[in-house]
Amino acid sequence: MKTGNFEKKLQHQPLRAMPATWRGEILAKARGQMRPARREESIALWRLFFARCSVAWGALAMLWAVLIVANFILAAPNGRTSVRPVLALRAEPLAVWNLQRAESSLLNDQPMDASGQPFRDPPRPRSDGPRHEGYGGFPANLEMKLPA
């Protein structure tokens, strides 16, 4: 039996066709699994957007991470950038006087200072001294004598 003849004999045997009823069933079930067109398009658009700008998005994310870390570090108790404690210290004597005055008015007493003398005027903050131009009360009219 020659190989060529045998192969040809086999080749000439026609294969069965798929049953015709299967077409409708297979396609119907497959169609039921298809994604909605709009969602597919929007997914494709998002993929296109992120695929093209992936480096930019990555850099933006890194920047946000740096900002968050920096904010966390600067907001720590050891950080000296907060101005709230300074304001609180400035306002403290006035707040204490107000409190004492309120207490005395309730008790119908005249407010007293530490030595027991009645207050006539509210205490002025230490920093509220003679006003000078320039920073920190440094006299602006100070004459600088240059060495000869």
């Binding site: 294969l15 299967w22 396609l27 079930k29 169609r31 994604r35």
Partner: protein
């Protein structure tokens, strides 16, 4: 984007070929239908699956082959039942009115069921899909030499199994 018409086109162009290939591998019509359904559901869910594919038929045959191999591994126990109780594998050839031809086709169908699936796949693609060994190798992801040797071994076994009938009807 793959729409319903595209799915129909793919079905009309390739379903018959896939059916014959899957039936030859699985030898069970119900399994063949399940696998075909699986393939078209996959095509419907992933419209981009065939994007950039040069040869649709080869790609789909590879999908079918992989699915069939997975199924045969899963149903190992059922296959043993069929062998033990002599269940007949489904006929893979078309009916004919000629009794001699019908007898030959029946015997050929049984003989194909007796050769290993990997040889059966190559024999099918060579004889009934008309692919070259290079194309078969690319489709099944095997070396061309392996495709050629599997074909040779498969054909030799078929020749031995069919010799009495072949000589008789020749």
């Amino acid at each position: 984007m793959r729409d319903s018409r595209e799915l129909e086109r793919l079905h009309d162009e390739h379903a018959n070929s896939l059916f014959a290939f899957l039936l030859n591998l699985t030898r069970d019509e119900n399994d063949t239908r399940d696998l075909l359904q699986e393939i078209f559901i996959k095509l419907a869910r992933e419209p981009g699956l065939l994007r950039g594919v040069r040869n649709e038929r080869s790609f789909l045959i590879r999908l079918a082959h992989n699915a069939a191999i997975d199924l045969m591994r899963r149903r190992g126990a059922r296959a043993k039942y069929h062998e033990e109780f002599g269940a007949e594998p489904d006929q893979i050839f078309a009916d004919t009115g000629d009794p001699d031809t019908a007898a030959f086709r029946g015997q050929l169908s049984k003989a194909l069921a007796e050769i290993p699936p990997e040889q059966r796949a190559v024999v099918h693609l060579k004889l009934w899909e008309g692919l070259t060994f290079e194309k078969i190798a690319e489709t099944l992801d095997i070396p061309p030499d392996t495709a050629a040797s599997r074909y040779r071994y498969g054909l030799d076994k078929l020749r031995v199994l069919l010799r009495p009938l072949y000589d008789e009807i020749k």
